[in-house]
């Protein structure tokens, strides 16, 4: 069934959108990532104008994250205090990120920089997670005692200490705030929720237990992407409600299924799967940069820079 999107001004198959939303939603629920880093390139691929894809995707992530977070709240896997600190950082970061995005746009090379940041960050995050997960699995297989992550690093020597009961942490508020700002900047530039950076940052930098990481990440993503959606809707008029509804119907259902699948997987397995997926997307984008494209020319939406 073809459906015409009022803002994107293209006609696409409604079932294709429902399916894409569902597939990405399952992954979102499983891993606590918004799924934007998968969905945004997929939307480009089926012919949605990039500006509309980025803005609408932010709106869709709000829905799938909200659906996902409710399931985590029920199991008390959300650290609201930590989530709020991260969110405050995220909102500041998103505002800065939008400024940077517009600056790059005026310089004319925004596509390249977005793709490059995808490749660099997906590569680093995916590689680190993959390596770490393999090591963890080896250790548990060989039967050797799992070395407990060192909990007293530089993070613990900063002022403004706060108690994060859900995460069993007593650390300074500065690192989570900085992580939030950093992820917010990335999220605005790359048009994603930022979960794929947030999740490893929470595990490796903040030392949060894997159990609460997914729910807390989803919690703060809701607010950052909602803020991004409003910014896009009021400045660029690029949020397509029809596209968003189709994606989110598939997305929210998928997220529910994904959360339930995630329960049956071990943390290491979950991490290694997410790492492989992140690396796959990274590899695809890197190939696009390295191989000669079949069409060297492209049409910009409008004149000017």
């Amino acid at each position: 069934m073809q459906i015409y999107l009022p803002i994107a001004e293209v006609s696409v198959n409604a079932f294709l959108l429902l399916g894409l939303g569902g597939a990405v939603g399952i992954l979102s629920g499983m891993f606590g990532v918004g799924g934007g880093f998968l969905m945004t390139p997929l939307l480009f691929f089926i012919g949605i104008p990039p500006a509309v894809a980025v803005a609408t995707e932010a709106n869709q992530i709000v829905a799938s994250s909200f659906s996902g977070v409710l399931a985590h709240v029920k199991r008390k896997n959300v650290d609201f205090k930590m989530g709020t600190v991260l969110m405050v950082g995220g909102l500041i970061g998103a505002a800065i990120g939008v400024r940077i995005f517009n600056l790059l746009k005026s310089l004319g090379q925004v596509d390249l920089l977005v793709t490059l940041s995808y490749v660099v960050f997906l590569g680093i995050v995916g590689g680190l997670m993959f390596w770490e997960s393999i090591r963890a699995m080896r250790r548990s297989q060989s039967g050797a005692p799992v070395a407990k992550r060192r909990h007293h690093n530089w993070v613990h020597n900063l002022p403004f200490k706060m108690k994060f009961r859900q995460s069993h942490l007593y650390i300074s508020a500065i690192p989570p705030l900085l992580v939030g700002i950093f992820v917010g900047v990335l999220a605005a530039i790359m048009g994603v929720g930022g979960g794929f950076v947030m999740v490893p940052a929470m595990i490796y930098i903040l030392g949060m237990p894997t159990k609460v990481v997914v729910g807390t990440s989803l919690f703060q993503i809701i607010f950052v992407t909602a803020f991004t959606t409003l910014l896009h809707a009021t400045t660029n008029y690029t949020v397509d409600m029809v596209l968003a509804v189709l994606l989110l119907i598939g997305g929210v259902v998928g997220a529910q299924i994904g959360t339930r699948i995630g329960v049956y997987l071990k943390a290491e397995q979950l991490r290694i799967l997410l790492a492989l997926m992140v690396l796959a997307v990274c590899g695809k984008l890197a190939l696009d940069l390295l191989l000669q494209p079949s069409e060297l020319y492209s049409i910009g939406a409008e004149a000017g820079h």
């Binding site: 459906i3 015409y4 004319g108 409003l230 809707a233």
Partner: protein, 247 residues
Amino acid sequence: MLRIFVLLLALVALPLRAEEIVAGLSQEHVDITTNFDGSEILVYGAVKRDAPLPAGDLDIIIAVSGPSSPLTVRRKDKRFGIWVNTESVELGSAPSFYAVATTRPLDDILSPEQDQTHRISVEQMIRSVGVEAPREDIRDALIRIRAKGDLYQELENTISISEDTLFRTDIALPANLTEGTYHTRMFILRDKQVVAQTDTVIDVRKVGLERFLYNLAHDLPLVYGLLSLFIAVAAGWGASTIFRYIK
């Protein structure tokens, strides 16, 4: 004296006006509804003659053009091992949709000078920012990319003429259509010269839900944004609740 002059002028002008087009469209407006999946328009007409049938071949050209806008065409090149946009050329205007239907190959029935005057071929429709013609590789790339999406169509030999009078053709408008006024021009040609021309318009408009959402997004962006968020949160909550009951 003046009267004789006017009469003479009228006599001279008469052969040129000997043939006229009476045109029709199967529909004068295209409504973009939610399930819009392209539209086919039947363009038909008749050649009206006051004088006997002139000698030579009769040819018809029908050109449908969508709203024009300026745009930028970029070219990629390999720099530091990766493919990046190295060059961008701004074009003054190019139609969002363009279809040319003809009775015979365009080059056989239209002289280059007449093409330039009447701007019939798609190449003539693409204008650069300045006075000069747009760069050929840029223009060709634009035509190639748009032709792939059925936005630029060269429909040679698709108009059928019967009895040297009646003609018709079908123009397929693709699903990814831009809103606006679509000009339909029809030309009668003899000896590669345009002897008569007529214009009609097709109105392409979003209607119903499409119209409502588009207007809301542009007129009340904050309301539209908040509504989008509300739908997102409601859908997320709804799915969560439904799944809890299923369990």
